[in-house]
C-alpha cells in the first residue's frame, strides 16, 4: 500500500479517537460541574482543558474564564482551536476522503455521515440544554465508524495501520487523564479518600466508560490505587494502557508477518511492553506515577513517529 495511504488511515483513526475522547472528557467534566459549587466547577473545567493539552490555546482566547460554556464550546467547535472535535472530524473526513480507495464503502460512509451530522450539530454554539445530546451523538457516531471497521475491513495492513492509530491515540488519552487526576485535580493530599476524591475518580472512570466494569471487579469500592491499576494494567479493559500496548503489539506483529521483517518501531514497542510485563501497581507508585506516565506518553509518541518513518508515511 502507498505510504501516503498508510498515513491517511492512521491519522483518520487518530482523529476519530481523539474526537471521541474529547467528548468523553467533556461529559465527565459536565457531570462533575453539575454536582459542584462554582469554584470547584471551574477547577474541573480547567482540568479538562489541561488534560487535552489546550491550556495555552484556551487562555489565548478566554483568559482565566474557565466557565463550562466557554470550555465546551472551545473544545467542541472553536475555529481558533485546531484540536476541537469539529476540527478532528474534519481532519478524519479529509483523510478518509484522500484514502477512500483503502476503505470499505461502509467505513467511508460512516465517517462521511458522522462528519455531516456532527458539523450540523456544531454549526452554532452548543447550549447547556443540548450538550449531553451532542456529546452522546459524538460517541455514538464514533462507535458506528468503529463498528463498520470491525465488520467490513479486511484484516490486512490497512487494518493494522488503522488500529495502530486508534490505540496510539487512546493510550495517550488514558495516560493524560490519569496524570491530570493525580497531580492537578486534588487540591491537596489531605483530600485523598474524601468524598470529593471518590466522585472525581468515578468521573475519571466514566470518561473512559470504565465505571461499571470497575464496580463489577471491585464490589463498588472506589480506591485510587485500584483504579490506577485498572486503567494502567488491566488487560481486559479496552481503554487501559496495557490493553492498548497489546493491540499495538499485535498489529505491528501483523505487519512484520506480512512484510517479512521487523522495524525500529517493533524494537521500541518491545521496550515499552517489557515495562508492563513486570509492572505491578506497587512498583509503579513507588517509582512515581507521574514519572511513569510521563515516560509512557513520551515512549508512545516515539512509537508513533517510528511507525510513520519506518513505513514511509511521508516523502
Amino acid at each position: 500500500m502507498l505510504g501516503r495511504t498508510a498515513n491517511g488511515v492512521f491519522w483518520m483513526a487518530r482523529y476519530l479517537e481523539r474526537a471521541e475522547n474529547t467528548a468523553r472528557l467533556l461529559d465527565a467534566g459536565f457531570r462533575m460541574a453539575l454536582t459542584r459549587d462554582v469554584l470547584t466547577a471551574e477547577a474541573e473545567w480547567r482540568s479538562v482543558i489541561l488534560t487535552v493539552g489546550q491550556t495555552a490555546g484556551f487562555e489565548a482566547v478566554h483568559g482565566q474564564a474557565y466557565t463550562g460554556d466557554k470550555v465546551w464550546n472551545f473544545l467542541l467547535r472553536d475555529k481558533a482551536n485546531p484540536g476541537s472535535v469539529l476540527a478532528m472530524l474534519e481532519g478524519a473526513r479529509t483523510n478518509a476522503r484522500s484514502v477512500r480507495t483503502a476503505l470499505t464503502r461502509e467505513v467511508w460512509e460512516a465517517v462521511n455521515e458522522s462528519w455531516m451530522l456532527l458539523s450540523e450539530w456544531l454549526a452554532r454554539p452548543v447550549k447547556e440544554a443540548v450538550l449531553g445530546q451532542v456529546l452522546a451523538a459524538v460517541r455514538r457516531q464514533m462507535t458506528l465508524v468503529r463498528g463498520a471497521m470491525d465488520g467490513t475491513m479486511l484484516r490486512n495492513e490497512i487494518h493494522n495501520f488503522t488500529r495502530m492509530g486508534t490505540f496510539i491515540e487512546r493510550a495517550d488519552n488514558t495516560a493524560r487523564i490519569l496524570d491530570v487526576k493525580y497531580y492537578v485535580l486534588l487540591p491537596s493530599i489531605a483530600w485523598v479518600g474524601s468524598s470529593l476524591d471518590n466522585v472525581q475518580w468515578e468521573s475519571v472512570l466514566r470518561s473512559v466508560a470504565g465505571d461499571r466494569a470497575y464496580r463489577w471487579l471491585n464490589a463498588g469500592a472506589m480506591d485510587p490505587r485500584g483504579i490506577a491499576q485498572f486503567l494502567i494494567l488491566d488487560q481486559r479493559f479496552p481503554r487501559s494502557l496495557h490493553f492498548c500496548i497489546d493491540k499495538l503489539r499485535s498489529n505491528l506483529r501483523g505487519l512484520a508477518h506480512e512484510y517479512g521483517h521487523e522495524t525500529g518501531a517493533h524494537e521500541l514497542l518491545r521496550g515499552l511492553g517489557t515495562q508492563f510485563h513486570d509492572a505491578t501497581i506497587e512498583s509503579i507508585v513507588e517509582h512515581g506515577l507521574h514519572e511513569f506516565i510521563t515516560e509512557f506518553i513520551a515512549c508512545n509518541q516515539q512509537v508513533a513517529q517510528a511507525i510513520e518513518r519506518d513505513y514511509r508515511f511521508y516523502a
Partner: protein
C-alpha cells in the same frame, strides 16, 4: 426564442403519444403513486450526499463540494439507434488515433492540403516532445468521451470530442446503481444493457497497453491531482473499482529507470498510469516547472518505453475545437469512408468570411473558446444581454483565431421529474470509449447531461446542469 417548442421530444410524439423506446417505461411510470416518486427523489439525493458523490466547483471556496443533481427519469436509446451511434463513434475514434499518429509523424494530412499547418504548429496542445515517438501499443487516446446531441429522430450530431481526460463515467455508473436501488422492479420489466463492467473493461484495456518493460500482470495506477480536484470522486471511484492504486504526484518518483510509487515497503514500479492530470502539469522537468502535481522525469521514462501514459501526452490536439471543425475531413482522410456521424455546423472565426458572419449574427450563435472546456468562457447568444454580446464581440475581434461559433441547436428533450410532474428539458449524451491494440469498446450507455432550467441549453455540471441514467435497450 421558441427553443423548447421546436425541440425533438425523445419520449413523446408530436401527437402526444409515447415513442416506442419509452413504451414500457411510461406504462410503469403512469402506474406509480406520484407522492411515492417524490419521496424517492429525495432519497436519491441523500444517497448521493452520504456516498460523497460530489464534485468541486472552481472559483468557489476552496474545496467546496457539490452534488450533481440527479434526475430519475432515464434517457432511453433503442438498440437500433445505439448500433448506428456505435458504428459512427468507432469510426471517429479510429480516425482520432490515426490522426494523432500522423501529426506526430509525417503529417500526411497537412501535406495533402487537407488541414492547415498553422493549426498544428500554433497549437498549445501540440507537444514537440511527442514527435517521432510511438506510444506503447500505438494507442494515443485510450479513453474517449464523445459528446452527442440530437435534433431529430435520425439526427445525432457530435458536439465535441473529449480525447484527453474525459470525465463523467463514474456518474454513468452511480446513476445506474441509484436507479437499480430505487426501482428494482423497473429492471425486471425493461431489458437494459448493463454498464457496470466498465471498470473491469477499463482495467483490461489499460493493461493491454502496457509497455515492454511490464511483466505478465502490469501494475496500473490512477494519477489524481488530489482531493480538491473537481473530479476527485471519479478518480477514487475508478481506482477503487479497478483495484488500482490512486496516486498523487508526491507518491511518485523515478527509481532505477522506472516510474515508481512510494509504498510502505519501498518503491514499486508502475506500468500503466491512467493520469487525470493535464499535460502541462505532468512533468515539471519537461513542462510547467512550478507544478507539484506531476512526476519529475516521467517523460524521459515514457519515451524510453518504461511506462504507458493514458491518455498519451499531446492527445489534446485532437479534441481542440479548431481541429473539431475539420473532423469530417479527418475521418474521411484516415478511414477512406464518409463520416457516419455529422459535426454540428461550425464557423471558424480565424477565417475572415466566417468572422464577419459570426459578428453579424452573435445573438443567434453559441461562441466557444477554442481551448476552453466545461462551459467556461463561452457566449450563448440567445440568452445573453445586448451588453454581454457587445463585450464578447470585442474579445472576438481582438483574437478571432481563439473562437469558433455554432448555431443554437434545438437539442432534443427528455422529461425530468418535477413537483408538477414530467417536464421536458434539453439533454446531451456522452458515451465512453476504450481503445487498446485489441480493439475499440463502447459501453452501451453513457452520461446524459440535462439542463434543469426550463428552456436552457446549458447542460454542464459546472453551470448547474444535472444527469440522468442512460438506458440502451437490448433486443
Amino acid at each position: 426564442m421558441g427553443q423548447t417548442t421546436a425541440a425533438f421530444d425523445e419520449m413523446l410524439t408530436q401527437a402526444g403519444g409515447v415513442r416506442a423506446a419509452y413504451g414500457d417505461y411510461r406504462e410503469w411510470f403512469d402506474a406509480q403513486d406520484p407522492a411515492l416518486l417524490r419521496r424517492k427523489n429525495g432519497e436519491a439525493e441523500n444517497f448521493f450526499r452520504r456516498t460523497g458523490i460530489t464534485f468541486n466547483v472552481y472559483g468557489d471556496d476552496a474545496g467546496e463540494e457539490r452534488l450533481i443533481p440527479f434526475d430519475m427519469v432515464p434517457r432511453i436509446v433503442t438498440p437500433n439507434e445505439w448500433r448506428k451511434l456505435s458504428r459512427g463513434i468507432e469510426q471517429r475514434v479510429r480516425a482520432l488515433n490515426a490522426f494523432l499518429h500522423d501529426i506526430y509523424h509525417r503529417q500526411e494530412i497537412v501535406r495533402a492540403g487537407r488541414l492547415p499547418q498553422r493549426l498544428i504548429a500554433e497549437n498549445a496542445a501540440f507537444l514537440p516532445q511527442m514527435v517521432g515517438f510511438v506510444p506503447p501499443g500505438g494507442v494515443y487516446t485510450h479513453i474517449v468521451g464523445v459528446d452527442l446531441v440530437r435534433t431529430g429522430p435520425d439526427e445525432f450530431m457530435v458536439l465535441e470530442d473529449n480525447a484527453r481526460t474525459p470525465s463523467g463515467v463514474s456518474y454513468m455508473l452511480e446513476n445506474r446503481e441509484t436507479m437499480m436501488a430505487m426501482f428494482p422492479e423497473l429492471f425486471t420489466r425493461v431489458k437494459v444493457a448493463p454498464v457496470q463492467d466498465y471498470p473491469r473493461r477499463l482495467a483490461r484495456s489499460l493493461a493491454a497497453c502496457a509497455p515492454a518493460a511490464a511483466g505478465d500482470r502490469p501494475t496500473v495506477a490512477v494519477l489524481t491531482p488530489g482531493i480538491y480536484n473537481s473530479a476527485y470522486f471519479e478518480h477514487a471511484f475508478l481506482a477503487d473499482q479497478m483495484g488500482a492504486e490512486l496516486v498523487e504526484g508526491s507518491d511518485l518518483r523515478v527509481v532505477d529507470g522506472r516510474v515508481a510509487m512510494r509504498t510502505t515497503r519501498g518503491y514499486e514500479p508502475i506500468d500503466v498510469l491512467y493520469r487525470r492530470v493535464d499535460d502541462e502539469y505532468l512533468d515539471p522537468l519537461t513542462f510547467n516547472p512550478n507544478s507539484a502535481l506531476g512526476v519529475p522525469g516521467i517523460m524521459d521514462i515514457y519515451r524510453a518505453g518504461g511506462i504507458t501514459i493514458a491518455n498519451a501526452p499531446g492527445t489534446g490536439i485532437a479534441d481542440d475545437k479548431a481541429i473539431y471543425s475539420f473532423m469530417p475531413e479527418i475521418v474521411e482522410f484516415y478511414t477512406g469512408e464518409k463520416p457516419l456521424l455529422q459535426n454540428v455546423p461550425t464557423w471558424r472565426c480565424s477565417e475572415k468570411d466566417s468572422l464577419a458572419y459570426v459578428l453579424d449574427n452573435l445573438a443567434e450563435l453559441v461562441v466557444k473558446e477554442v481551448h476552453g472546456s466545461g462551459g467556461y468562457g463561452m457566449l450563448i447568444g440567445p440568452t445573453s444581454s445586448r451588453k454581454e454580446i457587445e463585450a464578447f464581440a470585442l474579445k472576438l475581434r481582438a483574437k478571432p483565431e481563439s473562437y469558433i461559433a455554432q448555431p443554437t441547436l434545438a437539442l432534443s428533450t427528455v422529461p425530468i421529474f418535477t413537483r408538477a410532474g414530467l417536464a421536458p428539458r434539453h439533454v446531451d449524451l456522452r458515451p465512453f470509449v476504450l481503445v487498446s491494440p485489441k480493439g475499440i469498446e463502447i459501453t452501451p450507455g453513457g452520461l446524459t447531461r440535462v439542463a434543469l432550467k426550463k428552456g436552457s441549453l446549458v447542460v454542464n455540471s459546472s453551470q448547474g446542469g444535472g444527469t440522468k441514467d442512460t438506458w440502451v435497450l437490448e433486443d
